[in-house]
């Protein structure tokens, strides 16, 4: 049965033409995308399972786990979702954006396989190390902040996983090199360009991570006598935040790809969108400094310069995509005669297709929830009121759950239909799943933010709302919000499970079905028209982005107001 998942028909040279995208797909590229994608889904299953213990412990009414287990579950939740689910998907995205889009075979497949095996080994070792943590070691959470020791196997696993990721990314770089050497010349497709930007940012992050974990490993095995806590923080965040920037850039690339193939979107300006990716390459990794804003040691000038991505160069790039992608949908659909008033292009879009709905929810929620809060909490002074509270957890559920995870869920649905060629099981549930997950997770995320900002509830803590052990004081004022959070967290877990059920049932039991009209936008993917795309109306998008900017300003001003109410801190 498992091998039945790899039996598409290819011509003598190993190619087939995709009925949806028109891409020439080679067997090697397709099979590796499938393997990395499936592995990512397994990581989602594991990490999603651990979210039960995390949320149901923080919801102190339930209080599922004891202190020691809680921190282990939290660590496993973080590593499986934030790292393994994302990075396996991102390697698959590199193989889609590189060889598939360019119509090439995947080069050096042995290296790709070795990379996969190494990554899986690293992931297993990390899971084992966290699960078997015992004193004096502590659960690492995501960061393993030295000098709090974690299991030596944990650092070793991290090093192995990072090396595996670098290996797995190599075939992508070789593909681009081949394309430039033997291809027809000219510019790369935008999706390939975005994947290239992702890969550059990834290598920076991975090299930084390698240094951080080798340093910590050598200290942990007592080769080095001591470790500098501040230096470790700075090194760790090159990968800690850098990996999240990989998620972001990969997600934006997926947005361009999926809005086009299932929504009929077009690139309204190659110049503008490509410039935005170049801005990411230059500036986005500076954002790692966000994690050192409320820290000693680093100077204020260093913090302001880096955390602002050099005058907000990366924020500017994201604002560009925030317009360009919906505008692509709007102009593309107007061109196909699917306009109709200000928002007709959006309301009459294929919302019952989960690939489309997931992509659009990801765009909207990443922007409004994850993006705005990220910039706000990334300001030097505002960071003091966000840092290490549940509001931070709210922020990154806005980015990686509401943004990246929903986009990747859409991509998995797409891969199931177009590469595995399986009908989506439980059709209605599949159509509803992005709505359910987006809705419930948004509520859970907002509650996290409110609890953090309005009631100062810390993150990474076993219990603090109902009772602080050994103290009369507690943060029980946050209890009502915690109740709402608990319910919506449960619903979000159920909605996430619905994704896994649909995906796995489709793969294992679904009928083979050649993808066709159910995925293709009105008028087909390659709809031709004489009118250039930039001449179509983009007023609906303009209104949406103005609303976005207004929301941004409102959140920004509210946060500064809260800050200004504080007592005097600093010179």
């Amino acid at each position: 049965m498992i091998f039945g998942l790899f039996d598409n028909d290819y011509d003598e040279d190993g190619f087939r033409t995709c009925g949806v995208t028109g891409m020439e797909i080679h067997r090697t590229a397709e099979n590796h995308v499938k393997v990395f994608g499936l592995t990512a889904v397994v990581a989602l299953l594991v990490g999603g399972f651990f979210s039960i213990g995390v949320s149901m412990t923080r919801w102190e009414l339930v209080g599922l786990l004891g202190s020691e287990s809680f921190y282990k579950w939290l660590s496993l939740h973080a590593w499986n979702l934030l790292i393994f689910w994302m990075v396996f998907m991102e390697i698959a995205i590199l193989y889609v954006g590189g060889p598939m889009v360019l119509g090439r075979r995947l080069p050096i497949t042995k290296v790709a396989k070795l990379g996969w095996g190494t990554m899986v080994t690293g992931a297993l070792v990390i899971n084992y190390a966290i699960w078997t943590t015992s004193a004096p070691d502590q659960a690492p959470l995501l960061t393993s902040y030295a000098p709090l020791p974690s299991s030596p196997y944990f650092y070793a696993g991290a090093i192995v996983f990072i090396l595996g990721s670098v290996l797995a990314a190599l075939p992508f770089f070789v593909t681009l090199w081949q394309e430039k050497k033997w291809g027809e010349g000219g510019s790369l497709p935008l999706v390939t360009f975005g994947a290239f930007a992702t890969a550059i940012i990834a290598v920076e992050a991975l090299v930084g991570g390698l240094i951080a974990f080798v340093y910590a490993f050598l200290w942990r095995i007592e080769f080095l006598g001591s470790i500098d806590a501040a230096l470790y923080r700075q090194l760790f965040w090159t990968i800690g935040h850098g990996s999240q920037q990989i998620n972001l850039v990969a997600m934006v690339t997926v947005w361009y790809f999926l809005t086009h193939v299932v929504g009929g979107a077009e690139v309204v300006s190659e110049k503008v969108s490509r410039t935005a990716f170049v801005f990411y390459v230059f500036f986005i990794n500076l954002g790692a400094a966000h994690h050192l804003l409320s820290d000693p040691v680093v100077s204020s000038g260093w913090r302001i310069w880096n955390a602002s991505y050099a005058f907000y160069g990366a924020t500017f790039a994201s604002l560009i995509h925030a317009f360009a992608i919906p505008a692509g949908i709007e102009a593309g659909r107007r061109k196909r005669g699917q306009g109709g008033g200000l928002f007709g292009w959006l309301t009459n879009a294929p919302w019952s297709n989960p690939v489309f709905s997931a992509t659009v929810f990801s765009i909207i929620l990443f922007g409004f929830v994850g993006g705005i809060t990220g910039v706000v909490m990334g300001q030097l002074q505002l960071n003091m009121t966000w840092s290490r509270t549940l509001a931070t957890v709210g922020h990154f559920h806005g980015t990686v759950a509401l943004g990246t995870t929903i986009a990747f869920m859409g991509l998995v649905y797409f891969v199931i239909r177009t590469m595995f060629m399986r009908d989506l099981a439980f059709g209605r549930l599949a159509s509803a799943q992005p709505f359910l997950y987006a809705g419930t997770m948004t509520f859970a995320t907002l509650m996290l933010m409110y609890m953090g900002l309005l009631y100062s509830v810390p993150r990474r803590i076993h219990s603090v709302v109902r009772e602080i052990p050994g103290s009369d004081f507690s943060l029980s004022a946050a209890e009502p919000l915690m109740m709402i959070f608990g319910v919506f967290a449960l619903l979000a877990i159920v909605s996430g499970a619905a994704f896994l059920i649909v995906a796995l049932a489709s793969l294992l039991l679904g009928e083979r079905k050649v993808p066709g009209a159910d995925l293709v936008p009105d008028g087909g993917v390659n709809f031709e028209s004489d009118e250039p795309v930039h001449k179509f109306e983009m007023r609906g998008t303009f209104v949406i982005t103005l609303i976005f900017l207004a929301a941004f300003l409102a959140v920004y001003i509210a946060n500064w107001y809260f800050l200004s109410r504080l007592w005097e801190i600093g010179p």
């Binding site: 110049k271 302001i304 982005t545």
Partner: protein, 184 residues
């Protein structure tokens, strides 16, 4: 056709005009980006809340001596430390805050010396009655961070450790008592 999975239609795609509304958006975005940079930067000069202060490298032993010496020297009021001068020492050690509870006066600028005897901690303060007013600063072993604070409202301010420091982390709590006058 502007497909993202094909090379651009126009060879000279750089010269293709940009839609007017997209151009306006680019302008707004640029103004916004520079604007929030400017505000953040200006607040370090005109604002009263900035996580800025001198950092000193210091060994754990030296810092411990300083803090314990300060505690020995200081008088007590209702079980809380009364700082002899303008300096207040607070050190994290799993799972308590050395130097807390401390009693301080409103309207007086104190230099808080933050550090740790063992691992990283999070120094998170909020007044008992207004939980939305809180601040969170990192505390690192090997470093002494001197950061000024001046409280204007009297009351009990609770300090919680909000960086994971081990399994007993959630019990790490201390107090800052802010009074209009401190008479020993």
């Amino acid at each position: 056709m502007g497909s993202p999975i094909k090379p651009p239609d126009e060879e000279n795609w750089w010269d293709v005009p940009v839609n007017r509304r997209e151009s306006i958006w680019l302008g707004l975005s640029a103004i916004f980006s520079v604007g929030i940079f400017g505000w953040m930067s200006a607040w370090t000069r005109i604002g009263d809340q900035n996580p800025i202060g001198e950092t000193y490298e210091i060994s754990t032993e030296e810092f411990q001596e300083k803090v314990e010496g300060y505690m020995d020297e200081a008088e007590r009021l209702d079980g809380a430390i009364v700082p002899p001068g303008d300096d207040v020492y607070v050190a994290g050690i799993r799972f308590q805050w050395r130097g807390l509870p401390v009693v301080v006066e409103t309207g007086k600028t104190y230099r808080f010396h933050l550090g740790s005897y063992d691992v990283q901690h999070g120094f998170s303060i909020r007044p008992e009655d207004v939980l939305s007013q809180h601040t969170n600063l990192a505390v690192l072993p090997g470093y002494e961070w001197v950061i000024e604070m001046e409280f204007d409202e009297p009351g009990t301010y609770h300090v919680i450790c909000n960086e994971f420091c081990g399994v007993g982390h959630s019990s790490m709590h201390g107090r800052i008592e802010v009074r209009e006058e401190v008479n020993v």
